[in-house]
């Protein structure tokens, strides 16, 4: 009756051999191709460093004004703009300016990558049901797999530093970008598309003049989600050497510095709220044509 209480599993020896051979295989793959893969990501490395220097080495008043200007242009709301400025001033006053700028620069790079990769992929998925059926499970895995697990191969391949951190964040944060682009394009009214066809639009014209503009509010929601998820990964990414607000939090956990943890945590919350309000307000402005319906 032993088998009833202990699940009959693969013999220990076999299991050990399986695990070891996979590990060895991956390790030799890493040794053979690690350098060339790292070289492949060097443009990403330079982009990251450029973005970080831009934010940390520019005088802080200039950065502050730039943030306020972006918030104003995107939202056209004094409340949101004032909130942005106030939050950043508080962050600076509590001596978290540099770490915050490092985090913001990384979030910026991650978002750009997610947009550049995610939108075209979402467009392709909207056009092909087969592609959608095969990509969807992959996205499910990316969203549910514990992030520490895919940190392991990334670190083995690329070592510790900014680039593996960004890759881990993008893997975690890109699915909503892809899914919502796909959804936005699929939701475009069939009648509108038929009209575009009837006037002889090419596929490209249909995409640019009809599908993308009408899907834009949904795509904006995807960008918003991606930013929020990227921010949630900041602390985990700091475990593999990404600088920014995550590292003091990590230090606070290890040494039980309660206040340090709370301050940096609140700074993350602060920039998350800024990003969220600004991008949502921009998304709403894109839908202005839907308002003022004829009564």
């Amino acid at each position: 009756m032993d088998w009833l209480f202990s699940f009959p599993h693969m013999p220990d020896d076999t299991l050990r051999v399986v695990k070891k051979s996979i590990d060895d295989g991956f390790r030799s793959f890493t040794r053979a191709y690690g350098d060339s893969i790292e070289a492949l990501f060097s443009p990403l490395q330079s982009f990251l460093i450029w973005a970080e220097r831009l934010l940390t080495q520019t005088p802080w008043p200039v950065v502050l004004i730039a943030f306020a200007a972006i918030a104003w242009l995107a939202s056209r709301s004094w409340k949101i703009t004032a909130g942005t400025v106030l939050t950043l001033l508080l962050i600076g006053y509590f001596d978290m300016w540099t770490d915050t700028m490092r985090t913001v620069s990384m979030i910026f790079v991650c978002t750009v990558i997610a947009i550049v990769v995610g939108i075209p992929l979402g467009i392709l998925m909207a056009r092909s049901d087969r592609l959608r059926a095969s990509v969807n499970p992959i996205l499910d895995v990316m969203q549910t797999m514990p992030s520490f697990v895919y940190l392991i191969p990334v670190v083995m391949l690329l070592g510790i530093g900014r680039v593996p951190g960004v890759i881990a964040v993008v893997i975690y944060a890109i699915p909503p970008m892809i899914r919502l682009t796909d959804l936005g394009i699929r939701l475009v009214d069939r009648d509108t598309l038929e009209a575009a066809d009837a006037f002889g639009s090419s596929n490209w014209q249909k995409l640019w003049k009809v599908q993308l503009p009408l899907a834009l509010p949904t795509i904006m929601a995807g960008i918003n989600q991606t930013i929020m998820m990227a921010l949630a990964m900041v602390v985990i990414a700091s475990m593999i050497g990404v600088q920014g607000l995550g590292q003091p939090v990590l230090k606070a956990i290890a040494n039980q510095y309660f206040t340090l943890g709370v301050f940096n945590g609140l700074a993350i919350v602060g920039i998350a709220i800024i990003f969220d309000r600004v991008s949502q307000a921009y998304g709403r402005r894109l839908q202005k044509y839907r308002e003022a319906a004829h009564g």
Binding site: E194, F199, G200, S201, S202, L214, Y289, A292, A293
Partner: protein, 385 residues
């Protein structure tokens, strides 16, 4: 407005068009040709018969109305003209070219330059203003922006939307939105205008108004217009020719006069009995033809409606009046008795022997049956009903 209407008309020739919806449509065309009914096809193969052996010849520069109730296949039919729907078999010849055989590129060019379409649900681009919606067809053609705006502004003004260029469709009423749809189609300046139940979603008053707009514009532009409707009054008002569709088949086609005076079967007779015949039937369809005579002093033109003719007769002393052609020559004579006979709905469609679907010349019709006979039949019918 002189430079707006220079496109020469293009006729449309639909020949032996079949459309079957379903996965293996081609395999079942032969069965349908051999006479399998819609119900049989559905029961045996799960395929839906959309159109069966459609043959319509639409003359250039006229308004061809295609009428039918929902499910009759009329919207499917109009989408074959610019191939938004692929036919299962048959030909659609426009200007000597078979649309069905066009390559994708040729089809795109055809849609850009030869056809324009107006939709039942307007199908405007909600994120574009009235002006940017109107230029859409020209933008797709690749015209310079200045020319696009030029043409669009003239048509926006022509359909009565001047001052609304910067509004979004959402800010307009249904009637105004359809004016945008019409302006967008007309700005394309294509010789063929396809109107798919364009006015069905509008209030009755606005619909009449838009019909007038269309008829006025058509006098200038002389395009080949294909107009789909389920409304017989609309069909009779707009159509130079009408084709009536039922269950994917053409059951009668001809001029409005033909349809009213000689309905091909009981189904159509039932349809037309609600129509105010006095306002549609013209005197030339019911008058007694006379040898061409001298100029008549007191006379009415051949295209006068019965109602107006009755009024004209009442104004005079006699109980009949001469009918003259466009040049003022007498071509016939019509009496009150004939008018009343024609205005009373025929008891059955077989009153006047005529082959269904035939297009008769307007002048060579037999005189209407005597009034008493009609009245008697009507009375019998009224009792029976």
């Amino acid at each position: 407005m002189a430079d707006m209407g220079h496109t020469a008309g293009l006729g449309i020739e639909i020949r032996h068009l079949f459309k079957i919806f379903g996965g293996r449509a081609k395999a079942h065309v032969e069965d349908v040709r051999a006479g399998m009914t819609k119900a049989e096809l559905l029961a045996r193969t799960g395929h839906v018969l959309g159109l069966r052996d459609i043959n319509i010849s639409m003359p250039a520069a006229g308004i061809q109305v295609i009428m039918g109730l929902s499910g009759s296949g009329k919207s499917t039919l109009i989408r074959h003209i610019n191939r938004l729907i692929e036919p299962t078999a048959g030909e659609v010849i426009v200007g000597g070219t078979d649309v069905v055989r066009m390559s994708d590129r040729a089809l795109r060019e055809f849609r850009r330059h030869q056809t324009a379409m107006v939709f039942q649900k307007f199908a405007l681009l909600p994120h574009r203003t009235v002006l940017d919606n109107t230029v859409y067809g020209l933008e797709v053609q690749g015209l310079p922006r200045a020319k696009q705006v030029d043409a669009a502004m003239r048509w926006i003004e022509r359909v009565g939307l001047k001052g609304f260029e910067a509004r979004y469709p959402n800010q307009l009423s249904g009637g105004m939105q359809q004016r945008v749809g019409l302006a967008r189609a007309l700005a394309n300046d294509a010789p063929i205008l396809l109107m798919d139940e364009a006015y069905s979603a509008l209030d009755p008053l606005i619909r009449t108004d838009m019909q007038t707009v269309l008829l006025d514009i058509q006098k200038e532009i002389r395009k080949t217009i294909v107009f789909i409707t389920h409304d017989l009054d609309e069909a009779l008002r707009l159509g130079d020719r009408i084709a009536i569709l039922r269950d994917g088949e053409v059951i009668q086609q001809g001029t409005p006069q033909d349809i009213l005076l000689r309905p091909a079967d009981a189904y159509i007779a039932n349809f037309v009995k609600e129509v105010n015949r006095g306002r549609v039937i013209e005197v030339r369809s019911v008058m007694t033809p006379l040898a061409e005579g001298p100029l008549a002093s007191d006379a009415i033109p051949a295209d006068t409606t019965l109602e107006a003719a009755a009024e004209a007769i009442n104004r005079g002393d006699a109980d009949a009046i001469d009918v003259v052609d466009a040049d003022g020559r007498r071509i016939g004579r019509i009496s009150l008795r004939q008018i009343v006979a024609a205005m009373v709905t025929p008891a059955t469609h077989g009153n006047v022997p005529q082959p269904g679907g035939a297009v008769g010349g307007a002048g060579d019709e037999p005189p209407a049956e005597p009034l008493l006979e009609t009245v008697a039949k009507t009375a019998v019918r009224a009792q029976a009903g």
